[in-house]
């Protein structure tokens, strides 16, 4: 009887996780299967898991599958990063923008694309450097006997505005070279393949394992600094570690596909509405939902104006913003 009562909230969490896993798998199938040529689910299965040597092998293995996987990992990393930051800041409207990841990667990316186009092959590491550098600066600026969430948010807003003005200045001074930079500013999965996957995958794997270990710490942080200390949590260390983790996750995603906005905000927020604030469930739910949403939106972005392809960032914003407003209204009621 007692044991039974203990399982009720658990099983609801597990149910949502199972549903989200199914959604992610469906989105994957949808993404690999649709495009200029349609490929049925059973065919995909044969190509991927049985080494089937059919006419679509090239399309599946070299184009659709890697692109889909990159999209999933990007979505997962950004959503997980947002969920971690929402926990650290104790603010369900926090996202990777707040720690300067987007503006840092944006400015460094634009500098490469506009001023040093010959360094194009170095775009990803340089953008990564910009993203994590901006986060480090914000963390240092917010430091005063430890870091308070409000100070971190304010420092983030200020530094992002500063870097953002640099981006705008470059776009205006070199308006003739803006074209290549625009796609990076919006974020897109076009032509992403195995090399990009190799870059993101280690961050995803390490980030996810460490984040899930940290989930119980996030639950304790949510009780407020004094309670968390009273329960034996080293609040400063936990905050630093989790912020660093969120930075690496978001920076790895953003440096590969460009400034994909919104995933890091709406996905963890939506996951919270679905599954509650227990981070042991919220983190995996965010990962799954992030992977599903980015994959789904990218597929739509490819299909909607075919053969013209929209960057997934535009689709995310167009679908995400109204959905987010709907959630906020529902929450306010």
């Amino acid at each position: 009887m007692v044991i039974n009562a203990f399982r009720i909230p658990m099983s609801k969490g597990i149910l949502v996780i199972v549903a989200l896993t199914a959604a992610a798998i469906l989105a994957t199938g949808f993404s690999i299967g649709t495009g200029a040529v349609r490929i049925s689910l059973s065919e995909i299965w044969l190509y991927v898991f049985h080494g089937y040597d059919g006419p679509m092998k090239e399309i599946v293995w070299n184009i659709r599958l890697p692109r889909t996987l990159v999209g999933m990992l990007v979505g997962a990393n950004l959503a997980l990063s947002g969920a971690l930051l929402q926990g650290v800041m104790r603010n369900s409207l926090a996202d990777p923008h707040i720690i300067g990841v987007s503006s840092g990667a944006g400015l460094f990316g634009i500098i490469v694309l506009i001023l040093f186009p010959h360094l194009w092959s170095m775009l990803t590491p340089i953008a990564f450097l910009g993203a994590s550098g901006a986060a480090a600066i914000i963390y240092l600026l917010a430091w005063k006997d430890g870091v308070q969430p409000v100070r971190l948010i304010l420092a983030g807003v200020a530094v992002s505005a500063f870097l953002g003005s640099g981006i705008s200045a470059l776009l205006i001074f070199f308006s003739d070279r803006v074209n290549g930079a625009l796609v990076f500013m919006v974020g897109g999965l076009s032509a992403k393949s195995w090399p990009e996957l190799e870059i993101i995958l280690p961050y995803s794997l390490i980030g996810m394992s460490l984040a899930f270990i940290g989930s119980s710490h996030l639950n304790i942080l949510a009780l407020g600094d004094s309670n968390a200390r009273g329960l034996g949590l080293s609040v400063e260390a936990a905050r630093f570690f989790l912020t660093a983790l969120a930075t690496l996750l978001a920076a790895s995603a953003v440096s590969v596909v460009g400034l994909l906005g919104f995933v890091g905000l709406i996905v963890p927020h939506s996951a919270r509405l679905l599954i509650g604030s227990d981070y042991r469930f919220l983190l995996p739910a965010s990962v799954l939902l992030g992977a599903a949403v980015v994959t789904f939106c990218d597929t739509l972005a490819r299909l909607m104006f075919a053969p013209l392809e929209l960057p997934v960032g535009i689709m995310m914003g167009a679908l995400g913003a109204p959905f987010f407003l709907y959630l906020l209204r529902r929450e306010a009621r």
């Binding site: 007692v2 989930s215 309670n227 009273g230 329960l231």
Partner: protein, 275 residues
Amino acid sequence: MTLLRLEDVSVRLHNRTVLDSLNWQVEAGKIYSIIGPNGSGKSTLLKTCAGQLKPAQGKVLLQGRLLDSYPRRQLARHMAMLQQSQASLPDVSVRSLVSYGRFPHQPVWGAKRKEDEEIVEWAMAQTGTLPFAERKLSNLSGGERQRVWIAMTLAQQSGLILLDEPTTYLDVNHQWEVMELVHNLNRKYGITIVMVLHDLNHAAACSDELLVMRAGGMYASGSPEQVITDRMLRDVFGVRASVGRDDRSCRMHCHIEGLLEAVDFSAQPAIAAVK
């Protein structure tokens, strides 16, 4: 046995001395209440005992060892603290919150052991929170919620519980409920209690020892009989009062009659209003 000892402790906050060379000790197994007017340093003292504030001068010793030398996790197994006010946690269930009390006993990855579940169950049973174990914290009344937070500190299984004004925001009935609960936990399990209280009659009724604070220092300490006097109420709180023993409960009881000096607020020049 001396559980906690403060030697010549001073605490400074925002360049102001809030605690001034305080000496005090807490014996294991007793109930201590810290009383005193607003701003006399009660909460500061409690937070210093909990290791949440560092003394600028002097030593705080837990079982003869410097408080600072305990790793956080280990300290949390020795003492639990209930904050005065809590952040609102809308979708946390009672059981989850109480289980967070097991955090200092769990490995880093937070695996839940069977023993933890049993202790959580026990803590809820002790505080009468089992009937609403699966409900959300936001759906409880103030009194119920306070008992849940106490259950969390209980699940920490520490020998010392610090409570910062545990009865604030509660109505009379629930105030006494909390007092009874604290008293029971002490008598049944020998848990040492140190709490900050505003209500002198609560303090007198439930404590073995009182510490009276005035302006960052100790005014008096001792049993309620020794400490609660007309003179103390006049010196420390600035009120006229008659102190006696309640006929039925044999507890010390004070009846506040009014302020020592009448204050006429209307006589103050209304500078702020003119500006």
